[in-house]
Structures are given as C-alpha cells and as structure tokens.
C-alpha cells in the first residue's frame, strides 16, 4: 500500500517510474551502507574484540 502509493506518485510513464524507483532504492541502500550501518555498528559491535585488562575495560 505504502509502496503502491509511492509508485502511483512517481511521474511519467512506467519505464520512467521504474528508473526512478531503481534510483530511489539505490540511494536508500547507499545511505544505509555509508551512513546508517557504520553508525549502528559502532554502537552495537557484534564482533567485539578485546579482553578486559586488569579488571578495566580498555577495549571491547
């Protein structure tokens, strides 16, 4: 529904809409890969390396 509404609101004939949709999708994925994921990763750190040194966390 949400995506259908977006599709309806894209201008032009369907090939133009398709191209625009692909560009939008690419932009969103690029934003995720370059900005969002690195930020999330630095706050989440799934592969946290490091051990506690002398009872004090020097690294994660």
């Amino acid at each position: 529904m949400m995506y259908a509404a977006m599709w309806r609101n894209l201008p032009g004939p369907w090939p133009v809409r398709l191209l625009l949709a692909v560009i939008l999708l690419f932009a969103v994925v690029a934003l995720l890969f370059i900005v969002v994921f690195p930020w999330v990763d630095s706050h989440l750190s799934i592969d946290e390396s490091g051990v506690q040194e002398g009872g004090q966390v020097t690294s994660r």
């Binding site: 259908a4 799934i46 390396s49 051990v51």
Partner: protein, 244 residues
Amino acid sequence: MSMSTHTPPQRELARRSGGGWRVAGVAGELLVTAGVVILLFVAWQLWWTDILASRNYDDVRAELQSEWGVADPNATSPRVVDPKYGKAFGLIYVPALGGRGWDIPVMQGTDPDTLVNGVGHHVNSALPGELGNMAIAGHRTTYGAPFAEIESLRAGDQVIVATKFGWYIYELDRSTVIDFWEGWVLDPVPGKPRNTTPTEQMITIYACHPKYSAAQRFVWFGHLVDEYTRAQGAPPAISAQRGQ
C-alpha cells in the same frame, strides 16, 4: 516489493472496510522493509566491511612501506619499536591461516576503530624484541577477519611479526577458550601472577569465540623461537612467499 502488484480488488476491500486494512497493509510493508534492512545489515557486516578492511590494510601497508624505507644496513641486532597509539608498527604473518592472516598490519591499540585497520596490540603488553608477553587481538568475523580460522591453528604453527627493525618468529604452544573478562591472558607471563618477572619473549593472539559471537575469546599462547634483522633479510617463510 509490491510496487506494481496492487490489484483493484484489494483497493476495493480497503475502501469498503475502512482504515483498518490500510493500517494493517502499511504495517506489513514496514515489517517486510525492516526484515530487508536487517538482511542488508548482515550483508554489510560480512561482505562490505571486508572490502573496507582490505582497502584500509592497503593504505596502512603503503604507509609502513614508506616509513620503513630501505633496510638500515647498520642494524645488526633488532631494536624495539616505539609505536604511536592508533598507528601501525608492524605486519603479522600466520602462514597456517592462509591469505586472511598474511601481511596484516599490527596496530597500536585494540579499540574497534583501530581494529578496522589490522590486528591490535595491547598497549601495556610487550613489544617485539622485549621480554614479556605481546598480546594481539584480531577480528574473528567482519573487517577482513584476519583471525577467522584461529581455531584451526595447531601447536607448532608459526606467527611472524615484522617491524621496522626485523622479523620475530614465534611458535604457538597451547590454546584455550576464555571469557572476555579474563585479562590474565595478557599478563607478562600468562598463567603466573601478574608481577612475575618474564624471562622469555612470548606472544598471545586471540579473537572472538565462538565464531559470529562475542561471548568468549579463543586464545593461543606462543614463544619467540627466532629473529632476523633487516640486515639479515626476511626469513625463508616470508621471502619464499614473496618470490611467488
């Protein structure tokens, strides 16, 4: 996603039964989107961070290359490096780990931002050429995962660390699995009281364990068996690989 698959009967249904269906439809699409984003995040971690790391490694290697320059012909015995935090001071080679564990920058420090450029040396642990234990952390997964196969190493396998002054060859003795708070593995003489005076040059390498988890650490201990100065040239294990 359902961009063009919107069928008139659905729209008809939505109109007839009020906003409820519309809310449910949008909620469903949001859930599917969230699922796709999470899958993309996993792909980013396992695949994209490897690409980032290999680019970082190349940059750091080039930096080291220009820093080390040509071998100092007067260097007769290896000296100890003076690393800067967050900067590389060496390269590590673990032949038994294959390509992933070969020619990896050794960074000073083990914080996550440093570990994207190589493996990390614990700042309070010994340096190559010093008595005591040199502790090195590496990623098990993501960011190049230099220690991905740390569990497959065997006693007797070699770990070679190169610095500006030479090559230090360590041989692995034993491995263990610890919890992340077990800092004793970084001690000057691991397993002995912290104030024990070291009489040997040792190495600890470790990575997260189990793979894809950060619950524990897989640790290998080893000791120095040989060293080569720059004047002597690279040890056979490394020069043989270079010749290929």
